[in-house]
Symmetry: D3
Subunit: 330 residues, 6 copies
């Protein structure tokens, strides 16, 4: 893979030129208010797994419009006293899978809530949460980027971002959890949700980890890469040449750049210079808007799997510094 986006020095100063859509804050405030108004109590059921060192709960909480959302909660077996908690979001196409898929944060001593992704889980890891919305089911390119794209009200990511914010609120109220030490985390779509949730409920989040985040600087991304999922937008506009303005007007409401602006917690991002799925200019566009302490890991040679276990290790170290009081001197 050759480099394809801006040179690294230009990336470091790059900013998106797309303004937040009018009424952006109101849109989200109203959406969250409605979700909270419809909320029901979280349900936890312990499940049996072959993992002796981890206790797992099957979680159901309420997300967008009070709809039920599944999650796994993995807790170090035998833990006592309030635990810091990591709320994790999943990459595009996958669902929450099985408890054995999620061992990193519990091994590091955290309670770990892994939110299922509504409607996803048909592509590479199974899911259990329907996208139960009748209003947003207009014609779309297969995939999720254009589901309900005719209006921000009906767009898929309105529902999913809201689920993510609600997952944070839910996590903070779980028994045995120290609500002041909550980190959001995820990669790709999960990284986008990690930032988005921190922007939607900033007072709930003490640290943000976002690997190669998706959905950043969308209008530029679709012109510089032919990779999916961004290519879904191009495919949709090819079939619907008359709906380009409307489509982008909707998508602007879900550009992570605009929610990054509201993040105040310390944040660790990563980007990979050969990542055509989530181009680095988008990641830097989001990074430049963060208002709290921030760090970015740049993987010069990686593609979309940028950093892998190197970044996982960095993420745990970052969280330990901010939530566990470790390594402050480093």
């Amino acid at each position: 893979m050759a480099l394809f986006d801006l040179p690294l020095p230009e990336l470091r100063t790059y900013r998106s030129t797309t303004p937040a859509p009018e009424g952006f804050d109101d849109f989200w405030a109203r959406t969250l208010d409605e979700a909270r108004a419809a909320a029901k109590p979280v349900e936890l059921t312990e499940v049996t797994t072959p993992l002796r060192g981890v206790t797992t709960y099957d979680v159901t909480f309420t997300g967008f419009a009070g709809q039920p959302i599944k999650a796994w909660l993995n807790v170090p077996a035998g833990a006592t006293g309030p635990l810091p908690i990591a709320v994790e979001f999943i990459g595009y196409g996958g669902g929450r899978g099985l408890p054995v898929d999620w061992l990193l944060w519990a091994a590091a001593g955290y309670a770990h809530l892994v939110m299922d992704t509504r409607g996803q889980g048909g592509n590479w890891r199974g899911g259990d949460t329907p996208d139960a919305d009748a209003d947003g089911a207009g014609p779309s390119t297969p995939g999720f980027l254009t589901r309900g794209v005719r209006s921000p009200e009906t767009h898929y990511y309105r529902r999913l971002f809201t689920d993510a914010a609600r997952a944070v609120e839910t996590a903070a109220e779980l028994p045995g959890v120290d609500a002041t030490r909550l980190v959001t985390t995820g990669k790709s779509q999960g990284g986008a949700l990690s930032i988005a949730a921190a922007g939607l409920v900033p007072d709930r989040v003490a640290a943000v980890v976002a690997g190669v985040p998706f959905l950043c600087d969308i209008r530029r991304a679709v012109t510089i890469t032919d990779s999916y999922p961004f290519q879904e937008i191009v495919q949709f506009l090819r079939a619907n040449a008359d709906r380009a303005a409307q489509t982008f007007a909707t998508l602007d409401h879900f550009d992570v750049v605009h929610l990054a602006r509201r993040v105040t917690a310390p944040a660790l991002l990563s980007t990979a210079l050969m990542d055509t799925v989530c181009p680095p200019s988008g990641v830097f566009a989001a990074y430049s808007e963060l208002t709290g302490p921030k760090e970015i890991e740049v993987y010069e040679w990686d593609g979309h799997d940028g950093g892998k276990a190197f970044f996982d290790t960095k993420a745990l170290e970052f969280a330990a510094r901010h939530l566990l009081g470790e390594g402050r001197g480093a």
Copy 2:
């Protein structure tokens, strides 16, 4: 492309080994009854186009569960007296597009009703009909084959097949139409719907044209081709290894082979021996079940675009023989 399915002589005697699921007829009878119970009157609005020789109406009729479905009705300009009517269904991923996309049947002297495909139209020709169903929105592989696959009740094709049957019923009642001369037609997914509709409302259909029909002998198809959309099923089962039996139990309800058995009208099918999208064994499996007079065009060298204008010409000639009283001697 090399040949990949059975040799032609074996194809000609091939039959599917998958039985119809228990309660199959009841399932469809109940589904259609509910749709009819919820039906509302069709709406037609004339639209302006640059086509002087064709009069176009924007049509809204009610399909599954009384939900609104869009269509175009193209009629030869200035036609008087009752016209034969062709009801056309569209291939996978496309929507009804624009009136200029649909000129064949009006040029041949038919009223021509082109049903939009719910939720589709994001891939290669725009659509205008949402798939407005909240119950069937469970996790799925992007695309439509696994949408709502956890139960026949919630599966996408339950809704779409019902729309197709309702399109036929609607067409038969349009003003200026001779309900005794109705032909269903389409290619690929459109061919599947053409057969399915004729199997669901057999008394309404005087002739069936189905080019390279999709959704035939599904259980076999997924083992002999790696082409989409059938590959969606494989992709789904890779993420959901524990749901294979349930998935196929659902899909059996939408295997065109079982509806072909109920078709009594004269039918013209086509298949292409190098078509990996809709493998020829599936087409022959459906063909062998048809109980009325039947013909099949075999394109030995074609892929999924089997026959193209050769088949269009055959289709018009076939319809003319059965609906216009032409060429009976041939």
Copy 3:
């Protein structure tokens, strides 16, 4: 597909830097004179089709050097009085196919002459016209761009462009046609011929429609795309590294940019920004040379199928404004 050519603002002012070859006008004047001197009367034979609304004629007229060229003539059935006429040229590799392939312009009320493409029709739609020339049969890359490329005299496109000009002259003299209302039309290679014919016989053409035209600004195109057919030139030069100058000297005679300069009729062009087959800078290079009233449709997200039915509709509306006196106010 990412954007790959100049940004849109730069495209809008882009001009080719390749001058017309010396003797360009004489070359074409001589070529047309010879074709006219060898011309024979057009032959029309009505053919039977299943299209009740269209009357079809199998046409043979004389093109380059008096050689016979096939065409279809589709006329609205029962039309009386002189009709406007559309002369259509076909994309690369296809032939005139079957009458049912060509319904758009007759449905809009035009006589419609579809010129077969000599030697083509082996790739995606059958043809009936040989490229009967012995002098231009030197070694070439399979395809037509380098057939006879050692000299402008023997090059394939000398023959084809002449056929196109002769098709226009033939159309203007058909019975029942209003020669003052003639529009040339086509996409890709057909778009190139639409412009070329209008530049070769400008007094015969009242309007030009050219979708994503091929053969524009050839010297630049071969350096910015690896798509076929332009890639044929690169492939030829790889086998014939010593013939680059000669090859381009020949091709300059068939660069549509130089014929666009001679077009005075109103023209509608289209381009797609992700079209690697006919890159947008070439289309704008041709567009900028047109001397009559002109419009260009830019499809920002499309590839080489730029615009599809959206552009067909635009084309009919454009022709209606200029030939039918409709919508002048728009």
Copy 4:
């Protein structure tokens, strides 16, 4: 992906037709004796990681010819009393990576020794062990199937299989480990090594887990798939047409089928019917030779990632039944 190997019923009875090479047992006995004669004491150094729930050691033990081999040892933090131990081997091209890569077995309550793969670790996860038949032959981007293929003595897999057997012997002697409860595990190349080690030191191994094992029935595999790494052999023979007999004579010494015959421990294997990397007939060929209690998970729709977390869960449950005394009733 279509099915490409034998139908499942035939797979279940398939046996390889390639006999073990003459002197096979002696070859391995001699090789192991030499390795043991050159063995040096294992070295363990605790390393700092951000994993609070896991204690990690950087391990160096001696493998083939006494050469130093790296490994990670992950132990549940604070564990007391002898632990069962899992010895894991890695898939083709990857190295031992970082401690956070290996959390499954510690989370299930095992000591977990992850053997680095000599010379590998240049492709998808870094490695730290040179293939020390060379001063400068440290980890590099591969091929390994034909490294040293001119003789079984010099072949790469002679060294690697010996390392694996020595890893088992080393694991059994680690402090805090219950040597009677040792399971070998791995996927693909790791699965091959898991079986091979159990065949080489059968008295040391209480259970075997091998997901989609590589290197089974090699002579057949290279004729039915064009996937790498098996394709390396084809590529080598294309350049060295005169060395086919010698090449296969060497490779026969490393065909897992022949070592499977010596495995007496309970074994769990998996195969995926669409796995072109390690074709299912090879897996069944190995499976059929196992002489102890055995189970095989068949993933009908998966490719080479067959089973994923479903198989991980199965593997832990299988190991628990055989090593932890759980679920014997199931």
Copy 5:
């Protein structure tokens, strides 16, 4: 590449089931007679090259219908006395290139006549011979397999096979050549021509070398491979579904199997079991018809470059045994 054709034991007994077309011998007798009647004297011009050990002549002889065909003649510098001569034909798409391209046979002590391929030389090695035929220029798929395919009289390979026969006749009459020691040679299309020429003028040819010959058992080949050039036929039939019978009736005249039957000279063929361009069943079909002494080299792992220098060496050794009297004992 996996094996894709018949297993080797079945290949060894495979015979084509397509009979020679009626009038086959007359067709060729008449064609050759006409070529001879129109023949003109060969022209040789010495050319300067940097090769001190080789003397090169630019040759023009007359082929089909007396048309001029170019060739290179390379002779060992300073050779005296009559030399054995190799007549070489070139693979599909290439031309005679430059004298430095053809060193093998002169280095082995032969005069070496390399025939240019009419119309080819645009794809990978330049050519200098036009395909000067006006009658066979009907619509075709780019490439040569369908050029003039509407009749055996006009088909491209009628002209090329005749050129090849005439090249042999020309070579036999060159000064300084021993006409009794003439070997035809070539690979792929060149191998087809090597056999075809030996079948057309059997009394002129003392030995035949044909590597991976093309054009054998054409009707089967197009159903078992999707590689070009055979795929040109499929592509043509897709555009011309109504011309399949005619197309194959023409191609039967150029199936090398039927000319192989007339070859009496000793022959060496090669085939590669993973060669999808010229499938092995076709090669064996031709091989089985040869009536003289014959050998076949089977490269089990190769694709279309089967054997490479191994086969070149075999070919020289074979020719030496039959033409130079060497190694008869071997």
Copy 6:
């Protein structure tokens, strides 16, 4: 292929910005001294081939650290008196193959020494020389770019460059050779070695021919192309993100740009503007450092096979001018 590197005018003035590593000259002086100290006498064995015009010797000389390296020596049969000699190096992945592979320079009147490439010969032409830093590291399917990359001392190309220098020294001392007329030659990796050898033993080399040389301006190359073998470096760094600085520090020792600076002999290079394997900016970077008379052939349309026989002819003419005293006037 579109142009992808700098425009030609910028290429002509391009210079690498990477400085030679500290101690570069010492590193190579020491390495060569060690090789010479360990040198043993060359061994030549005449071998039988079917080439009557060429006498072939199987050569073994000592390269890096006195290790044995194979070569072919082809000499015009019957040559008397001292001959000029060409020392040829081979492209990436191939070995010395067979004597019939190497006919060009002998046909031009040169002794021709073709050095085998240690460890290579597993990919497209067989080899016979192990990379004898390992007992079992014989020829294998590659990668070599990262073999031993942790230090310049252990890197594969330290050994191979030294072999090349030693091949030149060996050639100069062969009986029957005129040591004052020695040309190094090769393409791709062979071109890199041709320059490198001339830079390492500049007093031994009278002329340099390097077609599309590899390993030039490595740090830039890996950012502008995704072709192999350069992509091996990217792949390695993806698995070893923590070793990028070390990797490039090692590779700098083998960047041909730094050895080009030491070449004083007349040199002919070639580059192809569409060559993604060895990008043109690298070739120009090396070319600009050459201090003797120099020429560069630019193939504007070629890929990595740039120039083919055109360049072979140029190369012989260039060598003739400098070594044979021909064409000095040209």
